[in-house]
């Protein structure tokens, strides 16, 4: 048998495997929603609490038709994206400052540990009182929840850059900022991207909790409102929307990763 034929067979088996993976993924999805619907119809679970896919779908269609859901989605999405960007950017800047001054990083080390281990959402009430019950404090929640862990992770990556790369630059009389730009930052891109991935999830937590506490708009508000009036169709619909958009955000970060990291 010739080589080309063998290669063709190999590719075919790869494609076949991929088809099966997709098939089972779809099966799980259909089974999940199918079982959910059935369980609700035949009252295996309390339909009042667990709703059902058909009820959620019809509510979603109604809400799209009257346009109300789009307002909530855009509100939450805006807060989350902004919180996420601010959190990561601020984390990178703080990490750069710590790298710049080893003395400062030694001084601040225990405080970073304390801030990191503290549950940031507990700061919510203080933020709301200090910044007013608006979008500002919710975005801050989205950012604050990820900033310290980003700082710690990115700073560690800055420090782990092979000292010999710096030695090479040093022999060319590079300044500390040139070393940062030429070696430290680019070699830490993979870490920064993986922090971004973690932060997608974190900023959703921050924003939703922020909306629980204060907002009159947004998906977090819909959840807490649905809970208060015991409309669990609304709660589950909001949850499903969050799942969809968080996944989209994550996929976008992966796309960014592919474009940015070609050779590391």
């Amino acid at each position: 048998m010739n080589n080309q034929k063998l290669h063709e067979q190999f590719l075919q088996s790869l494609r076949k495997e991929k088809r099966w993976v997709r098939f089972y993924q779809l099966l799980i999805l259909i089974a999940f929603f199918g079982l959910w619907e059935m369980a609700s119809r035949f009252s295996w679970i309390d339909p009042l609490i667990f709703s059902s896919p058909s009820k959620v779908t019809s509510l979603l269609i109604d809400n799209i038709a009257d346009g109300s859901i789009l307002v909530h989605i855009s509100y939450t999405l805006f807060e989350t994206v902004l919180g996420f960007i601010i959190g990561t950017l601020l984390g990178t800047i703080l990490a750069a400052i710590l790298w710049w001054s080893p003395f400062l990083s030694k001084v601040l080390d225990p405080y970073l540990v304390i801030l990191n281990s503290m549950p940031k959402v507990a700061l919510g009430p203080i933020l709301i009182v200090a910044m007013g019950p608006g979008m500002g404090s919710i975005i801050t929640m989205g950012a604050i929840i990820s900033v310290i862990i980003s700082t710690i992770v990115i700073y560690t990556s800055f420090r782990n850059v092979d000292a010999n790369y710096l030695k090479v630059l040093q022999t060319f009389n590079a300044t500390r900022s040139q070393m940062f730009k030429e070696a430290i930052l680019p070699s830490s891109f993979p870490t920064i991207i993986s922090t971004l991935k973690v932060n997608v999830g974190l900023s959703w937590v921050g924003v939703i909790v922020g909306e629980f506490l204060v907002s009159s708009k947004g998906l977090g508000y819909l959840i807490i409102y649905g809970f208060q009036v015991f409309n669990f169709n609304l709660v589950l619909m909001s949850l499903l929307i969050i799942a969809v958009f968080a996944t989209i955000m994550y996929q976008l970060v992966e796309l960014l990763e592919k474009r940015l990291i070609k050779n590391i």
Partner: protein, 255 residues
């Protein structure tokens, strides 16, 4: 007056456990265009001395001068430093890697593309300037590192075991290339190596160091008949093994 002067250099490393004397009473002078090697058992401080000559840090006491100028903190002095591995930046193209020194030293955004292609052919590489380091073999990458070092036209080349991570064939080829290029440009060079044969094949003079504390133990002149040969040819010459035996005995007596 010599080109490079190392006078009364002492260096001590400090850690929380102890202060370790790495170098003691080092005095040596190297002439312009000369190729010298530092050899010795591990812990003899030869790499420390090389870093001090590069001006990467200051010795605890003593001074290192090139053409009567202190090397430490001297931004006008360009030094070429080659490490054990190539340390090419993986996210930069070969061209960007070769010209990084030029860009940093001249601090401009000029395009040095033609400099890069000239250097590539100079070190015997095909035009790979748009490729990335991971696409090249180890020997090719170390050639690129050599081109990066030569790009800034350094006054002196410091070679910190640059051939030790290569396979034997690439190593021999690269030794010949480096030796040829340095002679062609009339560069002064210091090689740190574990490989006694390499030191004899490449150098004009060999400095043997003893360990704990690092001291200059003895200096060997490489006979003229070996100096005129390429490193590869030198390895086959009869004076090569004579000198090898002589230095080998000294090395043995140190351990």
């Amino acid at each position: 007056m010599s080109f490079l002067n190392v006078s009364n250099v002492h260096h001590t490393y400090f850690s929380t456990e102890a202060a370790t004397v790495a170098l003691k009473d080092i005095n040596l002078a190297i002439n312009k265009g000369e190729f010298v090697s530092f050899i010795g058992p591990s812990g003899c401080g030869k790499t420390t001395l090389l870093s001090i000559i590069a001006g990467l840090f200051k010795p605890t006491s003593g001074s290192v001068q090139i053409e009567n100028q202190d090397v430490h903190g001297n931004i006008d002095l360009s030094i070429g430093y080659m490490l054990q591995q190539d340390y090419l930046f993986p996210w930069k193209t070969i061209e960007e890697n070769i010209t990084i020194g030029l860009k940093l030293l001249k601090d401009d955004k000029k395009n040095y593309g033609n400099v890069a292609s000239a250097l590539l052919s100079d070190v015997g590489l095909p035009p790979v300037e748009k490729k990335y380091p991971m696409e090249l073999s180890g020997g090719m990458r170390q050639r690129v590192a050599l081109a990066r070092t030569l790009a800034v036209d350094p006054k002196i080349l410091l070679l910190d075991e640059p051939f030790s991570a290569l396979d034997y064939q690439s190593k021999l080829k690269l030794e010949d290339l480096v030796s040829h290029k340095l002679k062609e440009y009339g560069k002064t060079a210091v090689l740190v190596t574990h490989d006694l044969g390499e030191a004899i094949a490449m150098s004009d003079r060999i400095f043997l160091f003893s360990a704990r504390p690092g001291r200059l133990h003895q200096t060997f002149e490489v006979p003229n008949e070996l100096r005129v040969l390429t490193p590869f040819e030198a390895r086959a010459h009869s004076s090569y093994s004579t000198l090898f035996q002589k230095i080998w005995k000294e090395l043995e007596s140190l351990e």
